[in-house]
C-alpha cells in the first residue's frame, strides 16, 4: 500500500507541476493575443512558461508589410527571465504581428507569433 501511495503521490506531483510545457510557451501577452486596442501600446510584453536563455531569444514586432517597427531592443527581461519586452514607437492604426523565437534554459527551442490591431 505504501508503494501504491508513493506512486500516486509522484503522479499527482507531476500532474500538478506548473501547467506549462518544459518547452517555453507563451503564457500571455500585453497587448493580448489577437486583441484590438484603442490606443497604441508603448511596448510589447510577453510572459513565457519557462525561463529563457537571453542570448538566443529574440522578439520583434512587424507592421502589415512585414517591416520591423519596434526599437530593435526586443529581448529577455534582466530581472525576470520568463518575460520578454520590445519597445514600440507611436504606432499608427493598423494590424501588427509579434514574432518570437526563444531558447528555454533546458535547451528546447520554440517559436511563434500572434497579431494585434491598433484602432486609433
Amino acid at each position: 500500500m505504501r508503494r501504491v501511495a508513493r506512486s500516486l503521490f509522484i503522479l499527482a506531483a507531476l500532474a500538478a507541476a506548473p501547467s506549462a510545457f518544459a518547452h517555453a510557451f507563451l503564457d500571455h501577452a500585453d497587448p493580448r493575443v489577437g486583441s484590438t486596442v484603442d490606443h497604441a501600446p508603448r511596448r510589447a510584453t510577453l510572459w513565457f512558461t519557462q525561463q529563457l536563455e537571453p542570448a538566443f531569444s529574440k522578439l520583434k514586432v512587424l507592421d502589415a508589410n512585414g517591416n520591423e517597427v519596434d526599437a530593435k531592443d526586443g529581448g529577455v527581461d534582466a530581472h525576470d527571465r520568463t518575460v520578454m519586452h520590445a519597445t514600440l514607437p507611436a504606432l499608427a492604426p493598423g494590424k501588427y504581428r509579434v514574432e518570437w523565437r526563444v531558447l528555454s534554459t533546458d535547451t528546447h527551442v520554440t517559436s511563434g507569433g500572434f497579431t494585434f490591431e491598433v484602432r486609433r
Partner: protein, 310 residues
Amino acid sequence: MKEVPVRFMLAAVALAGAQGALAHGFAGQRFFPATIATDDPFVADELSLPTVSRRTLAAEGDSPAVRETAASVDLAKRITSSFGIEVGATWLDQRGAEGTQRGFDNWALGAKYQFYLDERHESIASVGVDWDMGNTGAKSVGAETFSTVTPALFVGKGFGDLPSSMQYLRPLALTGSVGIGMPSRSGTTTVDEDGNASTELHPHTVNVGLALEYSLPYLQSFVKDVGLREPFNRLIPIVEFDLSKPYDRGAGPWTGTVNPGLLWAGRYVQLGLEAVIPVNHATGGGTGVVFQLHFFIDDLFPKSFGKPLL
C-alpha cells in the same frame, strides 16, 4: 576573446536544443499531443504508463464475446533526432461466459523515421514499421502464434496557415497513418479431438488511423487570448478513428472504433481520457473507455535519457 568559446558552446547547445524541439511533437509553433488509439508521426522520447482500456469484444468463430480490460506500457526512444524505436507490452484480462483469462499479449517492437518537416505549414511525415512478435504472449488471451509486420506512412498537419477569416479553425490539427498488416503465415491449421482439421486464414489488412484535434493552447497563444486559465488552457479536445480492413484470404468488413475524448498537456505529463465506440457489430458491443498517463521523457530528463543516443 574569452567570450568566443563561451558563445561557441552556447551556440552548440542551442543547435542541440533545436534538434530536440523538432522531435518532440512540434512542427513550427504547433505542439501535437500524443494520441492514444492511433500512432502519431513524431519520433520522440516518451513513455505511456499506463494506458488502460475496457471494452467488449465481438464474438469470433467459436469464441464468445468477452469484456476485455487491457493495461499497457509503451516506450519510445530516439536514436537520432529523426529516427527512433518503440517497444510495447500489454496485459489482458478477458471475462466471458467461459470464465476469465489473463495474460500478456504479444510484445510489439517498432521503428520510425521522420523524413519531412515544414515548420511554416505545420506539416510532418514519417515512415515506420511495427512488429507484433508472434508467440511472445499467452495463447489463452488470444495472442497470435504468428508475427505481423506493419509498414506504415504517418502524416501530421496543423491548420495554423489558414487565412485570418478562418482564424478560429487555426487550432485544428490532423494526424493520420495508413499501414498494411502482413502476417508471417497465411493460415493456421488445427486438428480437433475427432481428427477434423480446420484452417483459420490470416489475411493482410489495411490499417487506417486518424486523429482530429482542436488545441486550446494554440488558440490561446497564437490566435486569440479568450481568457482561458488553468486547467482549461491546456485542454485539447480530440476524436480518433482507428480502423482496419482485411482484404484477402476471406476478407471481412471494416472494424474499428471512434474515440472522442480530451487530452490535457502539462509540464511533464499528458493525461488522456477517451470513449471507445465500436463502428459496427463486427467490432464489438457497447461503448468502452480508455485512459492514458503519458510522460514527456525529453522534458523530464533533457540532458540525459531524454535526448537522442547519437
